[in-house]
Amino acid sequence: MAVTLTVNGKTQQVDADPETPLLYVLRDHLELNGAKYGCGIGQCGACTVMVDGEAVLSCVTPVLLLEGRRVTTIEGLGTRERPGPIQQAFIDEQAAQCGYCIPGMMMRAQALLQANPSADEAAIRAALEPNLCRCGTHMRIIKAVMRAGEAMRQNSRGGGAI
C-alpha cells in the first residue's frame, strides 16, 4: 500500500504498510541513515527526526500519521561538503565518540533552537533529556548545541539559514 511522504522537502510515494514506523521507512525504503534504531520503544532518542519542526521519535510513529506533514532528518540539514550550522557546530566541538546517538541529538537540538534560538544551557539540557548517549559525550554535545544556537542567531541577524 502506498503512503505519500514529504521528507527533506521531497514528496514521494512509499510502498509500505501504513502501520510501519517511520524509522523503517526512512532507513529501509528511502535509504536515509540519519535516524538510528536504538530501542524501538521511544526510550533512547536515537531515532529522533523533526515533523513540522517538532522533535518526534520515528521508531514509534506509524507512517500513516505523516501524510501531508514535513519530515526532516539530518540529511536535510546539510551535507559533508556544506554542513548546516548544527552539523558544523558538532564538528567544531568534536562532539562525538561513536556518534550513533548524535543524529538524534542534533534533530532534537535543531527543533529546540528553531523554536527558541536563545535557548540557554539549562534549556538545552532539559530538551535533550529524552536522548541517551552511552559514550559520555554529553559535555561536548551541550557545547555544540550552544555553539549552534550562537551561529543560528548570527545567521538570522544576517538573514542566513538556520
Partner: protein, 750 residues
C-alpha cells in the same frame, strides 16, 4: 578473613623476596594478545628479538604500509574504530613519520583478508601496539625512500629530506614517493630500531587533529554496519529463548511463512530466525514466531536477593596476586570493609548488528567485532569449514565498551546466511535482546583489611576479591550463542584462573602505594550464573573503587588530607604528578563545604602499568530524595607520549561520565526465570539532567615516553571519587554500587 583461610593458593603471581615485589608470569605475552584477556597463548619456543609493538607479530613493513606507483599511501591496522578515535590517532602517527599530509593516507582497519592480525581491539592497547608498530614501520619506510632517492641521485642520504610525500634534494629537486617505490622494496622485515622523528620536528603528533570520522557521522553518511545496504540484501531477526539453556520444543512456522515478504525461516536445533525482504516485515514475523515458540525450562537463574553476597560461598580457586612481607611495626589501627559491584551491561545505544553473505563457498561477515581474526576462528569452527572460507571485516557499530553482542550477532548472521546463499543478510538485534543476552561485566565482592602504624602510614594490606573471569571472548565457537544453540551444541570452554601482569578480575587489585606488608588474593569463581565477559576496565572498576575508598578512610583515620595521604605512600614521580595536577586544577582543600556538598579524590595507574589518572570531584546530595549530582570534575591523565590531546580529553570525559553512570544507577536485574532489565526503563543510565556542569581534563605531556593508552583509565577512579565525596558530604560511606537515590537516602537516615 585471615591468612590461614587461604589454602594451597595458585602461586603464579607475585613472589615474596626480601621485602620487594618480584613479579613472575605464567606465560610470555605476545604483542598482539590482550594480556589478562586471553587464555592459553603458548609461549614461542625461541623468542625472536623483540620488535616494537605489533611488528613482533607481523614484521614485514608492507603488512603495515604500502605505497603505489601513483603515490597513494595505504596504512593497515588490525585494530578497529570503536568510537574511541583510533583511526584519527593512527593516521596522525603514520603521517608524522612518513612526512605526508594526513588527508593523503587511506587507513584500512581490521579485515582478515587485508590487515595484520592484532587480536582484539581492547585493553586500551591500540596506540601502544598498533600505533607503535605503525610509527616504527612509517619511520623505516621513510628511511627506505630516502635511501632509494640517494641511490638514484648518487648523493648521501643525509643531504636529503622527506617532505609532503616527496624526497627533496638540497638544490630543490624532488622525487615523489610513488616514483621511488618499486615492487618488493617495502616487503622487508622491520628492524628493531627506527630513526623516529624528534619531538621538536613534529607537525601532527601531539596536536589536536579533528576526528576523521565525525563529518560522516553528523551528516547521515552510511558508516555503520547498521547502514549497510548490499544488492539483494534481506533482513533477519533471531528469536531467543526466555533464558539460556532452554531448548526449542515446538514452533508454528506455517503462519509466519504466509506473512508478507517472508524469505525463509531458519530453525536449526534451538536456533530460530526469520528472514524477510523488508526490515519491518522481519520484525513482525519475529514477534509472531516468538509468540508460538515453546521452549524447555532451561537453566534457572540464581535468586537475585542473595547472589552478590553468595559469591563468597561459591566454589573457588585461589590465586595469589601479590604477597610481600617487609616487616615493620605492627598496625595500631585497622580499617576493614566489604565492597560490591553488581552485574552491569555495556549498553551500546545501537544494538548489535551484522551483515553476512555466502557466495561461492565463502562467507563474508561485516561486524563491529573487537576481534576480526578470533571471530573468524569461532565462526568457521561453528560452521565446520576452514577459516579461509570465512572473511570477517570490521565495520563500525555503536560504541563498544567491551565484549558486547557484536560477536554473537556476527555468528547469527553467518549462520542465517547459510540458509540464503547468494543473498546478503542483515541481522539486527532488538533492544531487549542486547540487554538480556550480551555478556555482562561480572558482579564482584571485595574485602579490604588495612592497618596504619603510629606515624599514620599503612603497614599492612590484605585484599580478597571474589570474581568470575572477565573474558569469555571467541576464539572457541562455544563462546557464541548461535553455536551453543545448534542440534549438537558447542560447549563454552571452562574458564581458567590466570594471573597475568595486566590482570583480569584482579586488574588493579594491587595498590600502587608503598606498603611493606601485602597480600592480595583472587578467589576465582569458575561457575558463571549469568553470562559475563569483558566490560571496560575489567576488575579495575571494582578493585580501584575498593582500594581508593579504603585509602580515604585510612586518611581520615590518620587525620590526614586524602591527597597528602596518597602522596605519602607514593614514590613514582608520574603518579605523584597526576595527583598534584588534579588537586591543583580542582582547587583541592579540606575546608568545609556547605551542607549537602562534598568533594572526593581518587587515583590509579591503569593495570599498574599503563595510564596514570587522578581525579577530584564535587557533588551535591539532596537530603530529601537521596539524589546525588556531580557538579564538577577535574582529572589529570598521563598516557605517555601524546598523539591527539583532544582524543585523550574526549575519551577521558566519556570514561568519567560512563563510570559515573555505572556507579550511580546501574545494575542488571533478574529473577530465577530470566533477566528483567531489558530496556532503558528497567536499566536506567545517566541522562543530561544529571551530567556534571563541568569536566576539566589535564593532560601531562610526556614527550619521548612510550604510549600508555587512554580509554579505560578513568573507569576505576570515578566510583571511588564519588563514594569519597558522598562520605565527605554526608559522613556516610557507601560500599555497594550502585548509589541510587533510595540507597543514599537509607544510608543518611532521612
Amino acid at each position: 578473613m585471615t591468612r590461614s583461610d587461604v589454602k594451597n593458593p595458585t602461586r603464579r603471581g607475585v613472589l615474596a623476596a626480601g621485602g620487594s615485589l618480584v613479579v613472575s608470569f605464567a606465560m610470555l605475552s605476545q604483542a598482539f594478545s590482550q594480556e589478562g584477556e586471553v587464555q592459553g597463548t603458548a609461549p614461542p619456543a625461541q623468542p625472536k628479538p623483540k620488535l616494537p609493538g605489533s611488528l613482533s607479530g607481523d614484521p614485514f613493513l608492507d603488512a603495515w604500509i604500502r605505497i603505489d606507483a601513483g603515490g597513494e599511501i595505504s596504512v593497515f591496522t588490525g585494530k578497529a574504530e570503536l568510537g574511541q578515535g583510533v583511526k584519527t590517532a593512527l593516521i596522525q602517527i603514520a603521517a608524522e613519520e612518513l612526512e605526508v599530509d594526513p588527508a593523503s593516507i587511506r587507513l584500512i582497519t581490521a579485515d582478515t583478508d587485508r590487515t595484520p592480525d592484532e587480536g582484539y581491539t581492547a585493553g586500551s592497547q591500540s596506540i601502544q601496539n598498533s600505533g607503535t608498530a605503525i610509527r616504527h614501520a612509517a619511520a623505516q619506510v621513510r628511511e627506505i625512500l630516502l635511501a632509494q632517492a640517494a641511490a638514484r641521485w648518487q648523493v648521501p642520504a643525509d643531504q636529503l629530506r622527506a617532505e609532503n610525500g616527496r624526497v627533496i634534494r638540497a638544490d630543490g629537486q624532488a622525487l615523489d614517493y610513488g616514483s621511488l617505490v618499486s615492487a618488493e622494496i617495502l616487503h622487508v622485515e622491520a628492524a628493531p630500531q627506527s630513526r623516529l622523528k624528534p619531538r621538536d620536528r613534529f607537525r601532527i603528533m601531539g596536536k589536536p587533529m579533528p576526528r576523521v570520522d565525525i563529518p560522516a557521522k553528523v551528516t547521515g553518511t552510511p558508516i555503520y554496519v547498521q547502514d549497510m545496504r548490499l544488492p539483494g540484501m534481506v533482513h533477519a531477526r533471531v528469536v531467543r529463548p526466555p533464558r539460556p539453556g532452554a531448548t526449542l520444543m515446538d514452533v508454528d512456522t506455517a503462519t509466519v511463512e504466509r506473512m508478507p515478504g517472508i524469505v525463509t525461516i531458519v530453525r536449526n536445533g534451538s536456533f530460530l530466525a526469520v528472514v524477510a525482504e523488508r526490515e519491518f516485515q522481519a520484525i513482525r514475523a519475529m514477534r509472531v514466531l516468538a509468540s508460538s515458540a515453546r521452549w524447555s525450562e532451561g537453566a534457572r537463574l540464581p535468586s537475585p536477593d542473595s547472589l552478590i553476597q553468595s559469591l563468597k560461598t561459591m566454589p573457588s580457586e585461589q590465586g595469589v596476586v601479590a604477597e610481600k612481607k617487609g616487616g615493620g611495626a605492627p598496625g595500631s589501627r585497622t580499617f576493614q570493609a566489604t565492597f560490591t559491584r553488581p552485574y552491569q551491561i555495556h549498553g551500546s545505544i545501537g544494538p548489535s548488528c551484522a551483515v553476512a553473505h555466502l557466495e561461492n563457498g565463502t562467507t563474508t561477515v561485516w561486524s563491529h567485532t573487537q576481534g576480526a581474526y578470533p571471530d573468524r576462528a569461532a565462526i568457521s569452527e561453528m560452521l565446520g569449514i576452514p577459516p579461509e572460507q570465512v572473511r570477517v571485516i570490521h565495520v563500525e557499530g555503536s560504541g563498544c565498551y567491551g565484549h558486547n553482542g557484536a560477536d554473537d550477532a556476527a555468528a547469527d548472521a553467518a549462520l542465517i546466511a547459510q540458509a540464503v546463499p547468494g543473498r546478503p543478510v542483515r541481522l539486527q538485534w532488538m533492544r531487549e535482546q542486547e540487554h538480556a543476552w550480551e555478556p555482562y561485566g561480572p558482579a564482584m565482592l571485595t574485602e579490604v583489611r588495612a592497618s596504619l602504624d603510629q606515624t599514620g602510614k599503612i603497614v599492612e594490606w590484605n585484599y580478597d576479591l571474589w570474581s568470575n573471569t572477565h573474558t569469555t571472548r571467541p576464539g572457541p565457537a562455544g563462546s557464541l550463542i548461535a553455536a551453543r544453540s545448534l542440534p549438537t551444541p558447542f560447549e563454552a570452554p571452562p574458564a581458567k584462573l590466570s594471573i597475568t601482569p595486566s590482570g583480569n578480575g584482579d586488574r588493579n587489585a594491587v595498590p600502587l602505594y608503598a606498603i611493606p606488608n601485602m597480600r592480595v588474593i583472587w578467589h576465582f569463581l569458575p561457575e558463571m550464573p549469568l553470562r559475563v565477559s569483558a566490560l571496560r576496565a575489567l576488575g579495575a572498576y571494582a578493585n580501584v573503587f575498593a582500594i581508593e575508598s579504603a585509602m580515604d578512610e585510612l586518611a581520615l583515620m590518620a587525620d590526614a588530607d586524602p591527597v597528602e595521604f596518597r602522596l605519602r605512600h607514593l614514590e613514582d614521580p608520574r603518579a605523584r604528578a597526576v595527583i598534584e595536577s588534579a588537586a591543583e586544577g580542582f582547587g583541592w582543600s579540606r575546608d568545609p563545604l556547605p551542607e549537602g556538598r562534598g568533594r572526593g579524590f581518587a587515583f590509579a595507574r591503569y593495570k599498574n602499568l599503563a595510564a596514570y589518572l587522578a581525579m577530584a570531584l564535587e557533588l551535591t546530595v539532596e537530603r530529601e530524595s537521596g539524589r546525588t549530582r556531580i557538579t564538577r570534575v577535574t582529572a589529570a591523565i598521563d598516557s605517555g607520549e601524546v598523539v591527539n590531546p583532544d582524543g585523550i580529553r574526549n575519551q577521558t570525559e566519556g570514561g568519567i561520565i560512563q563510570s559515573a553512570s555505572w556507579t550511580l544507577y546501574e545494575a542488571v536485574t533478574f529473577e530465577e526465570t530470566g533477566i528483567t532489565s531489558i530496556d532503558w526503563a528497567s536499566y536506567p543510565i545517566m541522562r543530561f539532567g544529571a551530567v556534571p556542569d563541568k569536566i576539566d581534563v589535564r593532560i601531562m605531556d610526556r614527550p619521548g615516553q612510550p604510549f600508555l593508552g587512554t580509554g579505560e583509565a578513568a573507569q576505576g577512579p570515578t566510583p571511588a571519587a564519588i563514594a569519597n565525596a558522598i562520605r565527605n558530604a554526608t559522613g556516610k560511606r557507601l560500599y555497594d554500587i550502585p548509589f541510587r537515590a533510595e540507597k543514599v537516602k537509607a544510608a543518611i537516615g532521612v
